[in-house]
Symmetry: C2
Subunit: 414 residues, 2 copies
């Protein structure tokens, strides 16, 4: 089955808001076998919304729309939907009750404008919004279905998972998509594509799609297919190929993040970790702790952004910093060793680099980064030269640190 996603909001078209909603919906529809063939962002403009609904009515069977259901004057989606589906707005007691209890729980006075949110198209199926004031709506015209959701991401997600997925599974026939993901590091996208050129062609001819998804420091390769039985043999051939010819670059063979892989490996090895961060400023610790349950293996971090803290807290001799500079093999290794001793973890990772945009020199240009890993009786370190973009450098340093840690853990797991 095919679907469109319609994202409504001026804030999307003027770049003030990143459209995370469309990506979330697309991924969830994809996983239950619904092909999203188009994502359209349009403004809070009734005529534009109507034009897109008319086109969608001809081209697809399902539209998931988000945005424009709020209480403010720029929220006009409901009017457009009423016109397209030939509906009147009626006051809905349940929705009003939900809004009332939400406001009293948060102890904030209810506003007159919120009454507008209790108005819903007369024939709409109302999807309860447990986290906010605007409910979801399902509207139908012959075989064409529109599901409209509020634009606030966490409200939308909650309704989508609890109401929309069950509704779709009940009302549409769809077939799950299978996928197999590989994570590579240390190889360029083009070289990887060249090595896979022949086998890639065979897969495509057999309805197995292959996608290259480069991210800072890693490449995600994703195969997806609809018929599990028929295509399993080809997938297994591909796995053998990867294990034979690309094993050195293979980090993992499932679609989870590097910090999740690290977490699984640490749990498997029953080891703990800490970080000592300079240029990443806490980002590595944040990435690790974004995973629920990370307290099982992550103890903490010393973010030593200033040299004074490298000396006073991490006990790096100031002569060492003076002699080698804070972005050096010598300093980063002591950071790793001392953080590990101080926080009493099995492993530690330390990073020190020049994230940019300033601070580069001829010998150490912006992007120069040292990463060290310390464990029981060892400390290794490696130098990298990343690029000129501060945010990308921080992300690439973090990903590279995770890859090095995972490789180190693989030594004791296997």
């Amino acid at each position: 089955m095919k679907a469109w996603i319609l994202s409504i909001g001026n804030e999307l078209l003027n770049g003030h808001t990143l459209n995370t909603n469309a990506t979330f919906i697309a991924e969830n529809l994809f996983n239950i076998g619904i092909d999203v063939t188009k994502i359209i962002c349009t403004s809070d403009n009734k005529n534009e919304i109507l034009a897109i609904l008319n086109e969608a009515y001809k081209e697809t069977q399902l539209v998931i729309a988000t945005g424009g259901l709020g209480p403010t004057t720029d929220d006009i989606s409901k009017d457009a939907f009423c016109q397209f589906f030939n509906q009147k707005l009626v006051f809905n007691k349940n929705v009003w009750h939900n809004i009332g209890s939400l406001f009293s729980k948060r102890n904030i006075p209810i506003s007159e404008l919120n009454k507008k949110q209790a108005l819903v198209p007369e024939d709409a199926i109302v999807l309860k919004n447990q986290l906010g004031t605007a409910p979801g709506l399902v509207l139908r015209k012959n075989k064409f279905v529109l599901i409209a959701l509020p634009g606030i991401p966490f409200e939308m997600k909650h309704i989508f998972e609890n109401e929309v997925i069950p509704y779709i599974n009940k009302n549409f026939e769809n077939k799950s998509i299978y996928n197999k993901t590989f994570l590579f590091s240390g190889i360029s996208e083009s070289l990887l594509a060249e090595k896979l050129y022949d086998i890639d062609n065979i897969l495509r001819k057999n309805n197995i799609n292959i996608a290259y998804l480069p991210q800072p420091g890693i490449i995600k390769l994703k195969l997806y297919y609809k018929n599990k039985c028929e295509e399993d043999k080809l997938i297994n051939n591909f796995i053998s190929f990867v294990n034979t010819y690309l094993f050195d670059y293979l980090i993992y063979d499932d679609d989870i993040s590097l910090q999740e892989i690290l977490g699984l490996k640490l749990i498997q090895a029953n080891k703990t970790i800490c970080t000592a961060e300079s240029c990443t400023g806490g980002f590595i610790a944040h990435q690790i702790t974004s995973i629920p349950g990370s307290s099982k293996y992550f103890l903490g971090s010393i973010v030593a952004y200033s040299n004074e803290i490298k000396t006073s807290v991490l006990k790096i001799p100031s002569v060492t910093i003076k002699k080698y500079g804070s972005v050096s093999k010598e300093v980063v290794e002591i950071m790793a060793i001392n953080a590990r001793n101080m926080l009493k973890s099995d492993y530690s990772v330390a990073v020190s680099g020049i994230a940019g945009p300033d601070g580069g020199t001829k010998e150490k240009p912006v992007g120069t980064t040292w990463i060290a890993i310390a464990g029981n009786n060892f400390c290794i370190s490696e130098k990298f030269i990343f690029g000129n973009c501060r945010i990308a450098n921080i992300e690439r340093t973090s990903n590279t640190a995770f890859v090095l840690l995972i490789k180190e853990l693989n030594k004791i797991i296997k």
Copy 2:
């Protein structure tokens, strides 16, 4: 002038990749006065791309497309563009030279597939890609212009800023957009909208648009308008209104992030800061250090994720943790005071909470969060009950900490 953004890539439609490119382009076009009226994501499918180009040709004058210019088999954008603009692909020496020098600098072998990237439509203006292998392309058919860029975000951004903006400014007449932004905290979107209801109506009647952009813990309110002279009086009236009736909720009156505001205030007050983080796991430090130049005022952070580190590094007496729990006024205040003493900063912020999804109790449900701020001879703290979503809780804690710090700094600046 009006434009469309065309984002090409299966990875966007199946939700594997967040479309940050479209948001970046939209914001940059908006700032130079070009209205993006539609953003369309489509698959790596030649017929789909052609259909959209045909529609765009009728509806708009400029399309910025991204994606599908890479070396792999799923990259077919160039074929579609050649067909639409009736062009042949020709080998471009400069592009090939650029690819060669890029690979030799990184010391990786050049792949046969990269040769494909040196093929460009015969009449295209080539926009140099200094950071990657796929160049940008400008193609024209009568008054209709397509600018095609690679999909890798940092490459796209670099070409956009260095080549596309100058090209647009040179070739199109466009008029800058003015905007005025306010950041509010401690008020709901609906109550804010109600308080602004009358003045909002007046602004809209006078071609001043107003957008409510809620983010975790704050609401961004943005006015934008095209005629500076004519509308300045109305904008000034609005500013007076906000200062008179909404001053208690106003955090800042410009469009910068909370961590940038904090940075400016710290520089203005000539003060330094550190953080002691439990539930945010380094996120606050990361947010602060995502700003270039933050080393001027940020010294470092102790991420004390485990209770052992709260005791061993931050010297919280273990009896205090046992008696009150680590998510408590008592613990978070000692965290703030001790981190400030240890890292020798003027201010410190400490947070301890239950980010979820597990770890909540009846007395302290998921979302319970304590935030403390310590300075010279004072320590204040406040309890918050956020929601059930781990990532949102981390973000909301960080934003709330920034708001409290900014308010504290305002006391000594004014």
